[in-house]
Symmetry: C2
Subunit: 172 residues, 2 copies
Amino acid sequence: MKVILYIATTINGMIAKKDGNSDFVSSEDEASFNKICRNTGCVIMGRNTLEYFKSLPIESWPNTDGIHIALTSSKSLSVSHPQIYFTDSPQSALKLAEQKNKSGIVVIGGSKTWGSFMKENLVDEIYLDIEPLAFGEGMPMFIGGDFEIKLELIESKPLSPQTIQLHYRVKK
Amino acid sequence: MKVILYIATTINGMIAKKDGNSDFVSSEDEASFNKICRNTGCVIMGRNTLEYFKSLPIESWPNTDGIHIALTSSKSLSVSHPQIYFTDSPQSALKLAEQKNKSGIVVIGGSKTWGSFMKENLVDEIYLDIEPLAFGEGMPMFIGGDFEIKLELIESKPLSPQTIQLHYRVKK
């Protein structure tokens, strides 16, 4: 099971403003994000990220025809997407993806969900799209505990003249 | 007066571990850092960064033959470097550099010093060297208040197969 984190960030590791707004993400970044999610066919997201996508039509979800797994302890979420599953830990999300015959998953946020996969050392690859701005305060990339993870840079490429994508493998 | 921030960071915007240790910085990163500091001939640093350099011989300072300005309210610091000046705000540091006939300065850290220059919108360019690792907790790049600053990517280049340097201009 290959676990990929896909992250869009400011230059100082903020993934959203204090209010959760991430409207700084470029269209080139979104296109790359949607392509990787759809190729993989299975995405995992936290409760807040799910709340964001709930407001969008299903054809705008990053993984329209695939499986979505939401990490939440809530049993009362009303979501109309036909292929969404709820679970309460990174490990149980991965088990669920395996049961659905998936060989890879993309973890699409937010900070607590990415942080929990990193802390449990479950990540194989990271895509990092760096947008040209800096926030003094905001949502940091990882929340939920300490870790130190070494990476290997696989590729660096421009998604546009202003957005750089770094692709890393996690050293294990 | 051109104001440059030179920053080495993890992929998630941490510039040091919780204890202040930044031994993850690569030798290629250090070589680029020293070159830019020496070309500019004037560096500004905060109190903690000065404490770090105090422990090193002068020939290992990033700007051996140039001017060093330390941002600190302390008047009791003992430093043996022949060209070091003390001041207590970003604005007074820039005024001092002008009086010394400098046309540019490099702000070399740490988080509070970089944060204060960003918050006051005094920065013209940023060099960001991204090292291949992630810390769950640590010293964030900017401390000291909120701001939102838009940048323009001037150049992206590898300093080594594992370290990417992004060079930005601040949009004003």
